[in-house]
């Protein structure tokens, strides 16, 4: 009996050991981003930023080997839910990182957080999840959208601009953008124009702007819309006459197409490639070397998301088993953000600085946004007070 039992026990013991080692060594992270269709550039930036961070950390987060599983949400909420369920149920991921767009976030939020898995958004930051619907399993490394919208409004007010023309797409984020601007700007609004989402030719609106003769224009036209608008704005000869203020309209994802047309235009952001921190210099150089493109906020916020996981797992000694401990460790934001100062508010959205950034051409001929002026310091979003988490 004894002879039989010993090897069995040894095998059992060994099995026990290997299984715990297995649980410790592969950390599975699902990345969900828009990787097809015209907005694919944004998703690629997000994915690249995250992968670069894992590579820079030696393929490990918090001491554990990392397996990244990338899924394309196709910017379709229903498809995103299917893909996220596959990540949760088939791949049994430990974290979900994504998405780019707010409407996708609304769709995947419940499936992920209800499964008890931590969801880290490196871009989308809607007001509802910052306020009443905030969740212990949800963290944001970007910003609450309203904050970015407010930057240009505050700047316009402080700079004493008198008459501003506003333009945005006719949907919720577009109306939020204009409301965000107006909450800080008290001067005259020349006109507010809402265009259909996805409009490409702005000839009619540009003629209106020319006749209204404002001091400045505030634009929220993300992605392809912004590329077209900026080019046509320049072609119409308006760029030399008015100040161009914007949100999500000129950044490193659109500048390769806008190029000289966007020179000198302003935007509101929480970061720019030339932000002077040692970590950021290293990140920008590394990203450009690896992907031959200037990183935009999507890439840097995804990079920060990986640093956030790394820092938290260091506190929990690599374990994701105790959810309460994991959430507490994430909340501590135990990492040095590329943007410098960073801490989480009670609603798990960042408290951070915001800048007015300006499009510039670098010595090597590439385009990037550069910090012009700090507009908000340690800014927290206004929705945190509605969040039950304290």
């Amino acid at each position: 009996m004894y002879r039989v039992f010993t090897p069995l026990a040894a095998i059992a013991a060994l099995a026990l050991v290997t299984s715990t080692v297995n649980a410790q060594d592969k950390l599975k992270i699902g990345v969900i981003a828009t990787l097809s269709g015209p907005p694919a550039v944004l998703g690629q930036q997000l994915r690249n930023g995250f992968q670069l961070a894992v590579k820079d950390l030696g393929g490990k987060l918090g001491g554990r080997e990392v397996e990244i599983i990338v899924q394309d949400d196709e910017l379709k909420p229903d498809i995103a839910v299917t893909k996220v369920k596959a990540l949760l149920e088939r791949d049994k991921v430990d974290f979900v990182v994504g998405p780019v767009f707010s409407n996708v976030l609304q769709a995947i939020f419940k499936p992920v957080t209800d499964a008890g898995i931590v969801l880290i958004s490196p871009n989308a930051g809607t007001s509802n999840f910052a306020g009443k619907e905030c969740n212990a399993n949800f963290f944001v490394t970007s910003y609450q959208n309203d904050q970015a919208f407010g930057v240009a409004g505050k700047y316009a007010q402080d700079a004493g601009l008198k008459k501003v023309f506003l333009i945005a797409p006719n949907y919720q984020a577009g109306r939020d953008a204009l409301a965000g601007f107006k909450s800080f700007f008290k001067g005259e609004i020349a006109d507010e124009v809402f265009v259909p989402l996805g409009q490409l030719d702005y000839s009619a609106e540009l003629s209106k702007i020319a006749t209204a003769k404002p001091d400045a224009i505030y634009v929220f036209l993300p992605g392809g819309m912004g590329i077209n608008f900026v080019k046509q704005f320049r072609q119409a000869g308006l760029a030399d006459k008015l100040v161009f203020l914007s949100a999500f309209t000129v950044d490193e994802s659109t500048l390769p197409a806008q190029q000289d047309a966007a020179l000198g235009f302003f935007a509101g952001a929480n970061w720019a490639p030339n932000l002077d921190t040692p970590q950021n210099k290293k990140f920008v150089a590394g990203y450009e070397k690896e992907f031959n493109a200037v990183p935009a906020t999507y890439a840097f916020q995804a990079y920060d998301a990986a640093l956030l996981i790394d820092g938290a797992l260091k506190l929990t000694k690599g374990s994701t088993a105790d959810k309460k401990a994991l959430q507490a460790a994430l909340q501590k934001a135990n990492f040095t953000s590329l943007r410098g100062g960073f801490k989480f508010n009670t609603n798990h959205y960042p408290i951070q600085d915001f800048y007015l950034v300006k499009v510039a051409k670098r010595a090597d001929g590439k385009f990037q946004t550069e910090i012009a002026k700090k507009v908000f310091s340690n800014d927290a979003d206004i929705h945190a007070k509605d969040c039950p988490m304290k």
Binding site: F194, D201, S203, S207, P256
Partner: protein, 307 residues
């Protein structure tokens, strides 16, 4: 002030109109003559733009880019006709829609694979950049005037081709009764190929002309295709004249609707709801027009005779 704004908006409407015409002309010919629904027509528009960007990058000359891109667009259109479309002429419309839709998916993905997902841009040719003063205080980009002029020139060329030449006569006859034309000893396959190639080239030309204004990106042909179908339905399928008039109507209605709907609504409602309702009505306007035309003239404004 309001008068000069109106003039500029009419020019804007004309520019959208001629652009739509360039795309719709090929579509209506292919649909009318060959009874072939080519959803992939919008892809040719996208390819025209991409090819122009590529050749501009290689040669550095706008003129050479235009010539090479046109030739390449034509060659590619004929290649598609030879490899795929030729086998679909006898099939029913559903097969054609599915096959050509497949081509859209395939080519959109292929474009992304070759040129990347990031939007590209093409500069305006040096001698047409900038804007000119139309009226005191109102300037207009020269390139948009060039688009209008070249579109009108092509419309005139098409008019002469279709109504004054033997080829045009065959095309008109084909639109009326293709089997009869074939029975009279005309090589209908060859005719189809010429019509198809020409239509493809026009769509490519539209893509090249618009590339300096819009961003060149995968899927850019999909939205314009829908408008082009609206144009040919309103104009009457197979009719170049119908396509021309319908394209201008749509271009003007869309542009003027977008610019003045809010102001008009403000006369009857409060400014804030007018701002939200106006754009919604403006974007419905062309479809309302199509519904009205279809109700009163189910075959379109200028259907080819004998159909």
């Amino acid at each position: 002030m309001s008068m000069s704004l109106l003039i500029v908006q009419i020019l804007n409407g004309l520019q959208l109109g001629v652009l739509l015409f360039l795309i719709a002309a090929g579509l209506t010919l292919v649909f009318g003559v060959m009874n072939f629904i080519n959803l992939a027509h919008g892809v040719q528009y996208m390819l025209g733009a991409y090819l122009a960007v590529m050749f501009y990058g290689m040669t550095g000359s706008s003129l050479l880019a235009l010539v090479f891109a046109l030739l390449a667009a034509l060659a590619f259109g004929l290649f598609l006709e030879f490899v795929v479309f030729r086998h679909l002429y006898e099939r029913d419309h559903l097969d054609q829609v599915i096959a050509t839709f497949g081509i859209i998916l395939f080519l959109n993905q292929a474009v992304k694979y070759i040129w990347g997902a990031a939007p590209l841009s093409l500069p305006i040719p040096e001698y047409f950049s900038g804007s000119i003063v139309l009226l005191p205080g109102l300037t207009y980009p020269i390139w948009r005037l060039v688009i209008i002029a070249s579109g009108l020139a092509i419309a005139l060329l098409l008019y002469v081709l279709v109504s004054r030449t033997r080829l045009g006569m065959l095309v008109r006859a084909g639109a009326n009764n293709a089997p009869m034309v074939s029975a009279l000893g005309v090589d209908i396959r060859r005719l189809f190929m010429i019509v198809f190639g020409f239509g493809t080239m026009l769509a490519g030309f539209a893509g090249i002309m618009i590339a300096p204004i819009l961003s060149v990106e995968p899927g850019m042909g999909d939205t314009i295709l829908i408008l082009a179908f609206v144009v040919i339905v309103i104009g009457g399928i197979g009719s170049i004249r119908g396509a021309f008039i319908a394209a201008l109507l749509i271009g003007l209605a869309d542009t003027l609707g977008r610019s003045f709907s809010v102001d008009i609504l403000r006369l009857v409602m409060a400014p804030s709801p007018a701002r939200t309702v106006g754009p919604a009505i403006a974007s419905m306007l062309i479809y309302l027009m199509m519904a009205l035309v279809l109700y009163f003239r189910p075959t379109g404004l200028f259907p080819p005779k004998g159909r």
